[in-house]
């Protein structure tokens, strides 16, 4: 059953703080809340469709994508998230969030939200023993490298035509991408104090 689409904020007054929803089914929710608040925006935990009224942007956090994909449908969140995307609200997916956003998943797995024209491969580097940290060049957010933490991380294995690559790994595979107002990273910007990707997300909100 399709849930009614939540109303987006109506042309906010310029001084109103943006309201950023964070999908809070499980995962690194707290860390995204801290990042959003540090930038002066309001953080809203999203667990049910009723939590989504009046949001300006949405973050899909790191965690276990297998768990989140089940809970998204269990709580009827899929349709309200898609409605938000249709209305042009910017979205950021980190790690598990990137998997949830992808149009296609490797190994014939069923995709979830289909908001990013890319094929994403889960656990592309291997199990936890292969988790790593690295400094990343991301020109879209400035010259200073961003320190990326990759945990059982995915990569983008195939890109659609409208998708811009923001960063690549050592093997030249995309690990940060943008398509329209959808941003996705294979790593966890929420785990370090670097707020530049969150700022990029907030900058895409219509004001």
């Amino acid at each position: 059953m399709a849930s009614p689409a939540p109303a987006l904020a109506e042309s906010p007054a310029p001084d109103r703080r943006p309201r950023v929803g964070i999908l809070a089914l499980q995962g690194a929710v707290r860390e995204h809340v801290e990042a959003v608040r540090a930038l002066g925006a309001e953080a809203v935990l999203v667990r049910l469709p009723s939590d989504m009224a009046g949001l300006d942007a949405l973050i899909l956090p790191g965690g276990e994508s297998t768990t989140m994909r089940r809970l998204i449908d269990l709580y009827g969140l899929r349709e309200p998230i898609l409605a938000m995307a249709r209305q042009g609200a910017p979205m950021l997916g980190t790690c598990a969030g990137m998997i949830l956003l992808a149009n296609r998943l490797a190994d014939d797995e069923e995709p979830v939200l289909c908001l990013l024209d890319a094929t994403v491969q889960r656990n592309a580097y291997g199990r936890q023993l292969e988790s790593f940290e690295a400094d990343l060049d991301i020109p879209a957010i400035g010259d200073e490298p961003l320190h990326g933490v990759f945990i059982r991380a995915p990569v983008v294995s195939e890109l659609g035509p409208g998708v811009e690559v923001l960063a690549r790994d050592e093997a030249d595979r995309p690990i940060a991408v943008r398509q329209g107002r959808v941003l996705a990273t294979a790593f966890h910007p929420e785990l370090t104090g670097d707020r530049r990707l969150h700022r990029l997300l907030l900058g895409m909100i219509d004001r």
Binding site: Q26, R47, E64, T67, R127, L129, S131, A134
Partner: protein, 295 residues
């Protein structure tokens, strides 16, 4: 791009990714699939759940690597496994099997009654149990990337889990109320490294995620532990020793996410069938309690 694997940030990072979730004990690949399907964030691969370990008696050891491999094959969520306290070789074997987390666990028979494993020497992250703040901080000092309060495993009785979680939280509040120069004596009393004590006082919480284990048998138990400060819950015998494991597993997952929403808790608690039988703590002789293992 220079990369560094198995750093402290990646170890604690995985623990953070499991926050808000349920980690379920499983003894077969089929159990593991049921757990994953129900929404578990990770599974703990075991030969026997704690209540059976209790019944079976004898020495409880690391699981057969064959079983762990089967469970790894069956699911895509992280797989954890237990080694005995102080059993460096069992931990090395689990690391060689590429499990995602090792639980140095009091549920198994201790191999060393003085020393825990030096967990900094391992690439795989560790979780350890605690009954109070001092025990938690000693384990973090040894390199544990996640803490879980012990509770009393295999009882289906939440009372010890509550006692341990309250003890940890109270200990943290006491540290927060201290002057900086009082933290030296606090570290001495807690028998924990000063640096970890200072970090905890400053953060107002443990420097690594704090989960709850040992005694969760119902959705309400999971909600209770979350409300007392657990960031996630481990469920052992409570699921696969209940009348309807699949339904109980799903209900506990929902209760963990919506722990502060009594309407949803009421809904998921209804009609679950018989929970695991459960044990009153008074029925367990002190020498048979698992939580007192570890030092």
């Amino acid at each position: 791009m220079t990369t560094q694997t198995s750093t402290w940030a990646t170890k604690v990072g995985l623990a953070r990714m499991l926050s808000g979730g349920v980690i379920m004990d499983v003894v077969t690949a089929d159990h593991a699939r049921i757990a994953e399907e129900a929404g578990a964030v990770a599974v703990m691969a075991l030969e026997r759940v704690p209540s059976d370990i209790r019944k079976f008696g004898g020495v409880a050891r690391m699981s057969d690597p064959k079983l762990i491999e089967e469970i790894k094959e069956a699911v895509t969520i992280p797989v954890m496994a237990k080694c005995r306290i102080g059993h460096i070789a069992e931990a090395q074997i689990l690391q060689a099997l590429s499990v995602d987390f090792i639980d140095e666990s009091e549920v198994l028979t201790p191999a060393d009654e003085e020393h825990h494993i030096d967990k900094h020497r391992f690439a795989v992250p560790f979780v350890c149990g605690c009954r109070d703040l001092g025990e938690a901080l000693r384990r973090i000092g040894e390199g544990a990337a996640m803490i879980r309060t012990k509770g009393e495993a295999g009882t289906g009785n939440i009372v010890e889990a509550v006692r341990h979680m309250r003890a940890v939280q109270k200990g943290i509040r006491e540290l927060q109320g201290m002057r900086e120069d009082e933290l030296y004596a606090a570290a001495k009393e807690l028998r924990a490294p000063l640096a970890v004590v200072q970090e905890t006082a400053e953060l107002g919480e443990l420097p690594v995620p704090n989960f709850s284990a040992g005694g969760v048998a119902t959705p309400a138990d999971a909600s209770l532990m979350r409300q007392l400060g657990a960031q996630a819950v481990f469920v052992g015998s409570g699921i696969f020793k209940s009348e309807n494991p699949d339904r109980v597993a799903r209900a506990i997952v929902k209760a963990t996410t919506h722990y502060d929403n009594p309407d949803i808790l009421a809904e998921v608690s209804a009609g679950l069938g018989e929970p695991m039988h459960g044990l009153e703590l008074g029925e367990i002789p002190v020498e048979e309690r698992l939580a007192v293992r570890g030092w």
